[in-house]
Symmetry: D2
Subunit: 145 residues, 4 copies
Amino acid sequence: MKSDFRFVYNHRVRWVECDPQWIVFNGHYLTFFDVAVTEYARAVGLPNVITQQKTGREFFARKSIIEYHAPAKYDDELQIHVRVAYLGNSSLKFVLEIYCNDALVTSGEMIYVCVDSRARASTPLPDEWKQAVIDYEPMAVEQAG
Amino acid sequence: MKSDFRFVYNHRVRWVECDPQWIVFNGHYLTFFDVAVTEYARAVGLPNVITQQKTGREFFARKSIIEYHAPAKYDDELQIHVRVAYLGNSSLKFVLEIYCNDALVTSGEMIYVCVDSRARASTPLPDEWKQAVIDYEPMAVEQAG
Amino acid sequence: MKSDFRFVYNHRVRWVECDPQWIVFNGHYLTFFDVAVTEYARAVGLPNVITQQKTGREFFARKSIIEYHAPAKYDDELQIHVRVAYLGNSSLKFVLEIYCNDALVTSGEMIYVCVDSRARASTPLPDEWKQAVIDYEPMAVEQAG
Amino acid sequence: MKSDFRFVYNHRVRWVECDPQWIVFNGHYLTFFDVAVTEYARAVGLPNVITQQKTGREFFARKSIIEYHAPAKYDDELQIHVRVAYLGNSSLKFVLEIYCNDALVTSGEMIYVCVDSRARASTPLPDEWKQAVIDYEPMAVEQAG
């Protein structure tokens, strides 16, 4: 539901993102998710990929789910809604919904794990990163017990 | 499990598919899934996108799930395993597992719906398409009651 | 030279556009060119791909030239400058320059041919499309003799 | 001309590479060029991107030219021909021609510069790399005076 989201990223569908069915190829939604998560992190004040690495941490995708409700077409203006729905010890889950003119086009989620770059093993999310998300989100963010 | 699959598509990871973490960007796995499903359909004797359309039918992606178990890297040789796990009235589910040197890299599933191109509404899968899948697959394919 | 251009399209480099050298993969510049040309056409008032086809015409790329002067990196904010430098009978040439913080990153040109969709043969550019470009561009546009 | 080339890389056009005009999007030809150049280097015995970097060198694209002679379509089987046409002190030029069923689809060239990774400045091509190319190519390779 749109009202669950504070953050929205706008994207106009590119020609190269459309396939011969005149609709966005399914794999490109993960690019939209990625760009929107990047901009969400900027809005929240989280480090981006470059500044993360200076802290010795990186995020790796662990799981993606995408549901295709209606096709997005060339030149459509999409609103990509993003929020963090869960903060674990070392993982976090984003929920995403993409709308075009108030119609739900795509919904999904992305789970990332925070990894220590040197050890190549999962590492706890820094408390200040969690707090920044909690402070940003208007709704309660579920957390690991 | 590899032994569940009769069909395998080989792909060597391209430079353009890797991101600055030196690993395949998560969205590209849906391209790998798409290419492998295309080649699976060819092996089974199903119509491809062009010949489908001559029958007045098209497939649209309905849902994707991807789990990332280990990163694939530049120049890795991947084996993309594909099988149909479920045949519904108008939908079908592919299960995919990607291996590199016997290690599971990615697993996932793709659900497609068969659509009447003119009516833009779901339409039953032709019986001969179902039968072709059942004949091809060594294991029992789950079917709609 | 920046001052040659009236039209600029802004783009922030996406993670998926960067390769393991941490720079934009060369092929993606043609996507940037394509998006910028699309937005140029919108600014000038030319038909887009969909409305073109209603006139029975399409454009096909005929030639691309790209020179890579400096790398663009993840999260860089690019300014993609576009202008029409030449109007032929049935072809037109776009000149493009991409800047990041006043440094020239990439320059190039794209030549397109206007094609009659039914005959699949080149067809003259409509006079009103040429005039729209000439009216938009502050500098003289070279034309076929 | 096909007979100028010793090396050919085969590629079947993917769905995701086609745009709503049912043809390969122009930018994807640079991906085809890149993959074919990678496989050419493997055939010639040159180091790939990873092993290059162990020698402290990288290649950066300097210029691309692409001419589009005929469209490639979904599922077409392309033959991508590659040869080195020029060896400079620190640069080299590849010439590429893509055929489908003996028809020339695309031709072009790619110029790369060899760069010292630490100094980020151009550096001479190692003599053994030049010699490997000369030994591989049946035709004379033009060289810097």
